[in-house]
Each structure stands twice: as C-alpha cells, then as structure tokens.
C-alpha cells in the first residue's frame, strides 16, 4: 500500500520541488564556494577585487541580463522548431518529411558562427528600411542560433516519437481520439521519456552557444567581458590577474545557468517517469 500512497501524493502535488533537491542545491553552492576560496588562495589573488569589480560589476550585470534575454528568446524557439521537425519526420504527411531532412542536414553541417554572421548582416536587408537597425541584426542572429539548435533537437524528438510503439497510437485512435490530443496525451509523454535526457544536453550546449553572439558584438556576457578585458588588462589600465577573475566569474555564471536548466529538466523527467518501467541497473 505504501507504493499506492506514493503515487497519489506524487500526482496531487506534481510541481513541488522535492526536499532532496534543495539539500543537493545547497551542497552544490557550498561546495562551489569552497572551491573558489581554495582557487583564489592557490592563485594568490582576491576574486572579489574591489578595483576590478567597481568598474567591471555593472558590465558584468548588463552582460548577464543580455545573455538571459537571448536564452529566453532562443530556448522556446529551438524547442518549437525541434518538436515540429521531429513530428514532421514521423508524420503521415510524407511530403513534409524531406524539407525537414534538408533543414536538419543543413543546420547540422554548417558552423553556427557562420550562420550567425550571415543572418545578422544579411537578415535585416530583407526588412523595410525603417525597421533596419543594429538591434534587428542582433535579434535575427540570436534566432539563427535557435534555428541551428532546433535541427539537433529535431532528431532528439524524432528518436523519442519513434520509440513509441505503433500500438499506442492505434489504441488512442481506436477510442476515437483525434490526432492532436493523441499526440498530447499519449505519444508525447512517452516520447519525452526517451528525449528528455539528450534534450537537457542540447539545452546546455545552446545556453553556452549564445556566447557566439560575441562575434557580432551582441552585448552578451561573453562579449562585454572580452571587451572589458581588452580595454583594461591589455591596455595596462588594469592588472593582469584580473583576466583570471573575469573569466572565472563568466564561467561560474554559465555554469549556474546550465545547471539550473538541467535541474529543471530532471524534475520534468521525474514527471514523465512511469513506475515499473525503470531501466536496468547494473
């Protein structure tokens, strides 16, 4: 009966964050802090150098804000594109499958940097003159990163859809369900069981790929930090060890962002996980 109660409580309260997660999060933050303290004592400089942060601090925050904006723009776009591509490649509309294949092969093969440069420069020229601006180029460049990631996510979704046995679809149709509810309530939950782990991977890559915006002066964390380094350390206005502080801080921010997203994905994984369908443990 214990298992039954566990099921009931899980179902009535599906979005609460389990206590264990909070404990582990605290452990991570604590462990990370200790690591940084040790790092700075070994390197022999202060990570919280006042001189540096008084000039770099506001740039740092502005960069984080811009990077988060790019992520908020690109993540939903890439998932939508990936889902659509994956669905199309398994759909009964065969004629839609080959354009999806062309899309995927193109974006998988071409370096995202090249795509970002082309789209941000040439993209705005497709718009009427009064809309053309640097900002438009940046937005289009960011969207291009999403389209690129969407190609990879398309294959992840396709693998998930193809893992759902045909009988599941037939059973849903046989009780009179229409295609969209069948996807929503029968196919997708089962496909996600397979797709979520690689999707988390792709999200982590995507978050860090927003730093590609630096190549077109995107104003993101990576770009602003690099510019600050050029203007302070390399001109002699700042000290050489600032370089280590800046890039450590940047790395910590990217880590925190990817870690947050992949942890949220873990919660989602628990939701689509079906008891008794657990994999093997060797």
């Amino acid at each position: 009966m214990a298992t039954t109660e566990a099921t009931v409580s899980r179902r009535t309260d599906p979005v609460s964050i389990p206590r264990g997660h909070l404990v582990r999060l605290a452990e991570m933050v604590g462990g990370g802090s200790i690591f940084l303290v040790i790092l700075q004592s070994v390197l022999g400089f202060d990570l919280f150098d006042r001189d540096l942060w008084s000039s770099y601090g506001s740039i740092f925050v502005a960069g984080i804000t811009r990077t988060l904006t790019y992520i908020a723009l690109v993540l939903p776009l890439s998932v939508s594109v990936g889902f659509a591509l994956g669905w199309v490649r398994v759909s009964r509309f065969r004629s839609l499958a080959w354009p999806a294949t062309v899309y995927i092969e193109f974006f998988r093969g071409v370096p995202p940097l090249v795509i970002v440069i082309f789209v941000s420069i040439l993209g705005p020229t497709l718009f009427p003159e009064r809309f053309q601006s640097v900002e438009l180029g940046l937005i289009l460049g960011a969207l291009a990163i999403g389209l690129h990631s969407g190609a990879f996510q398309g294959e992840i979704f396709r693998a998930g859809f193809q893992s759902v046995p045909r009988g599941q679809l037939e059973a849903a149709l046989a009780i009179g369900m229409q295609p969209v509810p069948t996807m929503r309530y029968v196919v997708l939950p089962q496909a996600l069981r397979l797709s979520l782990p690689p999707l988390s991977n792709e999200f982590a890559v995507l978050i860090k790929d927003t730093s590609l915006m630096a190549i077109i002066a995107g104003g993101d964390l990576f770009h602003l930090s690099q510019r600050f380094m050029d203007q302070s350390v390399l001109t002699g206005a700042g000290e050489l060890h600032w370089l280590f502080i800046i890039w450590t801080a940047v790395a910590v921010v990217y880590f925190a962002m990817t870690f947050t997203v992949t942890r949220l994905m873990r919660l989602l994984e628990r939701r689509v996980h079906a008891r008794s369908l657990e994999g093997i443990s060797i």
């Binding site: 039954t4 099921t7 009931v8 046995p165 009988g167 599941q168 037939e170 059973a171 849903a172 149709l173 046989a174 009780i175 009179g176 369900m177 229409q178 509810p181 309530y185 029968v186 939950p189 089962q190 069981r193 689509v272 079906a274 008891r275 008794s276 369908l277």
Partner: protein, 241 residues
C-alpha cells in the same frame, strides 16, 4: 448494427481483402476464424477505419462511415477495439487508461469518468488494480483492462482482434470469461480468435475466411461439425485436432 459491403483492400501488390460482405445484427456475437494472412485483422481494422478500405462501404448503425464527410473518429467512438497486444497506455495508471477516452474524447468531467472507470474495472474483476501501471499486471489482467477501456466509451459494438493469442495459457480463461459475460449482456461483438471453445460456446455465427474472402458462414455446429467447403474442412480439422 455493423454491415460491410464489397470491401477490398490492397497493401502494395497484396490484395488482402477481395470483396467482403457481411452483417452483424445488434446483440450478436460473431466469430471470424481462418488461417493467418487470410485478412481477418485487416477486416476488423476496416470496420473502425484504422485501415481505410480501398473499395466498398462500411455501415455502423445504418450510417455509412467511410465517407469524406464523416470523421473517422466518430466511427471509432461507436465501435470499440481490443487488440492482440493489449496496447494499454504504459505511462498511465489502469484507472487513467480507462478514463482517458471519456475525458479527452467525450469531455466528461474527470471525477465522473474515474467513477465510471472504477465500476468498469470492478466489472472485469480488477477494482483493486486501479492505481497500478500496466507493466505491473499479468497479460490476462492487462487484456481485461483493455476491455474496460473499450467499454468506457459506451460503444455500440466491440471488435476483438485475437484477444487471447498473446496470453500465457493460464490467463486465457479469465479473458474469455469476461468476453462471454459481455456477450451474455447483449453486447454486439466481432471476435477474431483461434479459441474454438469460445467460438462454439459463445458465438451465434462463425465466418470462415481464407485468402481475403469469406469462404463459409454458419452456426458453430455447422462450421465445426459439418463444414461444406473443402478449405473449411481442412482448417477445422487442423485446429480441432
């Protein structure tokens, strides 16, 4: 209740159904027998339009359902189906499996649908398994849940596609008992099966199919005791041995 007229179906070069015509009156339990590859499953799937017939007409309750202006979903709500491999939704509990159709197809409120699902589970003897997942059940239990799931849509008829062929021998009885009780209650049923005991005790009529045509039809005692066609005789002698 169910009538098919001149059904043809091709899969590529294979001519699987070659002009099938028959009728199932309300409340009848009809059994279809025949060697594998004779088109029995395809015929069932044509009735609820999981497979679209190339030619011919399918009527449910007097309405032709394989027409452009009728959604196949409507036809499938009228006629339930039970599969050889159960096909329970693996990510849902037994209760959710049974209640999903009423909730998502008919728009029934969750509490109402789950209450009814519990009654149906009790009817197939599985009230205690409501919160289990399919993978935690035996094959026989899964198939009984599948029957409850079909019943939850209040179908006018149920199609059974070899419902006991994938079961271990010890679980066949419990599924056949549920089906026999359904027939007793007057459910219109079309059953593809190799269970000759069920066919002779429960079926009112038997169709023998071979190579995409209905070779012979008759009462169970005629088909098993005194088949008219050579092909029927050969098949019956093989399975009754």
């Amino acid at each position: 209740m169910i009538r098919v007229e001149g059904i043809h179906k091709h899969f590529g070069p294979l001519h699987v159904l070659r002009g099938i015509t028959f009728e199932v009156p309300r409340g009848e339990a009809l059994v279809i027998i025949g060697p594998s590859g004779s088109g029995k499953s395809t015929l069932l799937r044509c009735i609820n339009l999981l497979v679209e017939p190339d030619e011919g007409k399918v009527f449910i309750d007097g309405v032709q359902v394989n027409r452009q202006d009728i959604r196949p979903e409507w036809a499938r709500q009228q006629v339930g189906m039970v599969f050889q491999s159960f096909n329970l939704f693996t990510h849902l509990t037994v209760l959710e499996n049974v209640a999903l159709g009423p909730i998502r197809v008919k728009g029934v409120a969750r509490e109402v649908a789950e209450e009814k699902a519990k009654q149906l589970l009790a009817r197939v003897g599985l009230a205690a398994k409501a919160l289990s997942y399919p993978a935690e059940l035996s094959g026989g239990q899964q198939q009984r849940v599948a029957i409850a799931r079909a019943l939850a849509m209040d179908p006018k008829a149920i199609l059974f596609d070899e419902p006991t062929s994938a079961l271990d021998p010890e679980y066949i009885r419990e599924v056949l008992d549920v089906m026999a009780a359904l027939a007793q209650d007057g459910m219109t049923m079309v059953v593809v099966t190799h269970e000759m005991g069920f066919a002779s005790n429960v079926a009112e009529r038997i169709l023998f199919m071979d190579a995409g045509v209905i070779v012979e039809e008759g009462r169970p005692e005629e088909i098993f005791g005194n088949p008219k066609h050579e092909r029927t005789r050969a098949f019956v002698s093989k399975i009754l041995r």
